[in-house]
């Protein structure tokens, strides 16, 4: 027959096991020719008939997959959920560690903040791609070899039930808070030893915060950060907010933002030598405006945090139950 059918049949049997190939080829060809003949007898012209039959059979790769009973997906429903859980867990653990480690190594070799961040981002992306690729490959091979036919690798059981929603929300709050506090802590220490900004002459070696603050206020703020971490952990362990925790939260917030605002308004927060490195920031006006903005933002964040604590305490299911 014509070359279209030849090409179709060849494309179908190409991926079949050697033992089936000749038999499927012969049978498929006969079936196609039967169908084409039937259409010609009912008046279609030969070329159109052949095209219609082949289009009706569809993609030869799909037909071949049906003959060999191979799946047309990478990861089937049997292990998909286990695959997704594995992927999320590995990404959540390995990517931050890799990014942090890479950033740390670059920071310790004294590179600027730009290349530290760039290194961390590049490492995070490449770690994520590696994890995605290899985990998917392993699971795809499982499906391809038919290992998934014996059921999921890990059967679901009751121990895998997630925590109650309030507990989960508290945990994600706790993780978020601790990550941010860690970043803040790292920044305070980093900004003391490494340049975080550049002017036309290159990196600015002066620290951002006024060196005089190390006399009392910076150690005080570092202690507050540690206290805040302890507070977050206590809240998480208790499993719910209470009026007392909200009060402690408000006190901690006030203890942090009131001094920051006062220092900013007095112009004692930022190192004058740091500002002196920038022409635009050196003017008296700019400094006082920046001080006011800093104070307002700090007080705003503190107020929001304190109010948020009381709102959570009021909504806490434990309190409702007690009431």
């Amino acid at each position: 027959m014509t070359s279209l059918t030849d090409r179709y049949v060849a494309a179908t049997v190409r991926s079949l096991p050697e033992t089936q190939r000749a038999d499927v080829e012969r049978e498929l060809r006969a079936s196609i020719e039967d169908d084409v003949d039937a259409r010609r007898e009912s008046g279609a012209d030969p070329e159109t008939a052949e095209r219609e039959v082949l289009i009706g059979l569809g993609d030869p790769a799909a037909l071949a997959a049906r003959f060999s009973e191979r799946p047309l997906y990478l990861i089937g429903p049997t292990n998909f959920l286990f695959y997704r859980r594995s992927l999320i867990t590995l990404l959540a653990i390995i990517v931050p560690i890799a990014a942090l480690g890479s950033g740390l190594v670059h920071a310790l070799t004294g590179e600027g903040i730009g290349s530290v961040v760039a290194a961390a981002v590049v490492t995070a992306l490449s770690a994520a791609m590696h994890i995605g690729f290899w985990v998917t490959l392993v699971f795809a091979i499982l499906d391809w070899t038919g290992a998934s036919k014996n059921g999921p690798l890990v059967r679901w059981n009751l121990d895998m039930l997630p925590d109650a929603p309030e507990k989960r929300a508290l945990r994600s709050d706790a993780v978020t808070s601790i990550v941010w506090l860690g970043i803040l802590l790292a920044f305070l220490v980093y900004a003391q030893f490494f340049p975080i900004a550049w002017n036309v002459d290159g990196p600015v070696r002066e620290p951002l915060l006024a060196p005089a603050l190390w006399g009392f206020w910076l150690p005080y703020l570092l202690v507050l950060i540690v206290a805040e971490v302890v507070f977050v952990l206590v809240t998480y362990r208790r499993g719910a907010w209470s009026r007392l925790l909200a009060v402690v939260n408000a006190v901690l917030a006030a203890a942090a933002v009131v001094p920051i605002a006062a220092l900013a308004l007095a112009g004692d927060l930022v190192n004058p030598d740091f500002l002196a490195a920038f022409d635009w920031a050196d003017a008296e006006n700019t400094r006082s405006v920046a001080g006011i903005i800093t104070a307002v933002v700090a007080l705003g964040i503190g107020a929001w945090d304190a109010i948020d604590g009381f709102v959570r305490a009021a909504r806490s299911p434990r309190r409702r139950r007690a009431a």
């Binding site: 038999d23 049978e27 039967d34």
Partner: protein, 118 residues
């Protein structure tokens, strides 16, 4: 039968398709009590109201053969050699079992519809 499908909406068509999915195997096993080849079987099933796609039926016949429910033989008497399938004794047993199940389902559905205890 299949012109019903062409006028109903997508959801209905999907339910109909799911209901009929298993019946194609039974239809093949019953029809192939008399030997037949791929395209002829496709026509017979279509006339009987089983609108099976060719790309579903041909692989299905091979699968049933591999499972020992059909036996096949090449007939080279005609100008065009064709592979003839015939229901095996095991296929006949399965067809009987499927029919009994089909009848039981029919009875059960009828009872449910008429609100009688089965």
């Amino acid at each position: 039968m299949h012109n019903i499908v062409s006028v109903v909406d997508e959801t209905t068509a999907q339910h109909l398709q799911e209901l009929r999915r298993g019946t194609v195997v039974l239809a093949c096993l019953v029809t192939l009590e008399r030997p037949g080849y791929g395209y002829a079987l496709l026509e017979t099933l279509a006339d009987a109201g089983f609108a099976v796609d060719a790309n579903t039926l041909y692989p299905l016949l091979r699968r049933l053969e591999r499972q020992g429910l059909l036996v096949s033989e090449w007939n080279t008497d005609d100008a065009r050699p064709r592979k003839f399938y015939r229901t095996s004794p095991a296929g006949r047993d399965l067809a009987g079992l499927l029919r009994r199940d089909w009848d039981a389902l029919h009875t059960a559905i009828t009872d449910l519809t008429e609100g009688e205890p089965s």
